[in-house]
Amino acid sequence: MLTITINIVYIMLSLSLLMAFVRLTRGPSLPDRVVSLELIASIVVAFVGVHAVDTGVANLLDVAIVIALTSFLAAVGFARFLERGGPR
């Protein structure tokens, strides 16, 4: 039962990754793309969690911690870059 659920969850997460990528390519301004990148990072964290449950390898959670940290730092860096007047 859990295997079927994990497959369904993989499909749902892949669909959401696809839609976030649509916004990443279409987004009219750079902040839209940054928001989309942040959502992509959340989706990847969720993917890593589901994969840890799927394979039973608990050490994969360290990857999730690092991805969450990197996405936060990227968002703050992009925002500072935009406020200082970088190209949009």
Binding site: L13, M19, S29, V34, V35, G49, V50, L61, A68, L69
Partner: protein, 141 residues
């Protein structure tokens, strides 16, 4: 038993993430897109981490790591959303046509990036020369 709880947590988290992705495609402007992605996406990732913690409930170190991820997302998602939304308003990215309320429109100067509080000119007991202390919005950077 545990598998059922894990399945419910994973499905709920994936549903929230999927809703966030639908919102980020369908909603009309930056603020509403952020409203969808930041809250629903963070909640989805946190629920999936709750499912992971339930699945590895015999290993306390794994539960600790999952809780650390949840706390980290809970702390950083609002900060990142605030910072990006502030940068978006700072750049003057147009809001949606159906926007009802924009409270900064009258007090924020888009050209000079100066934010007025609205109380500069009518403070009692001061000569006019000492009024007009505008809050500079980090224009010196």
């Amino acid at each position: 038993m545990t598998d059922g709880i894990v399945a419910i947590f994973l499905l709920a988290g994936a549903t929230f993430v999927l809703l966030a992705a639908v919102g980020i495609v369908r909603l009309p402007d930056l603020a509403t897109r952020m409203h969808a992605s930041t809250k629903a996406g963070a909640l989805g990732a946190m629920m999936i981490m709750a499912g992971v913690a339930t699945h590895f409930f015999e290993q306390p170190e794994v539960i600790t790591r999952a809780i650390a991820i949840v706390v980290f997302i809970l702390l950083t998602a609002p900060i990142a959303a605030h910072v990006i939304g502030r940068a978006g308003y700072f750049l003057g990215i147009p809001l949606w046509d159906g926007t009802i309320k924009d409270e900064l429109r009258d007090s924020y100067d888009q050209k000079t990036h100066v934010l007025k509080s609205g109380f500069e000119d009518n403070s009692p007991g001061k000569p006019p020369s000492e009024r007009g202390d505008t809050h500079k919005d980090r224009t010196e950077n």
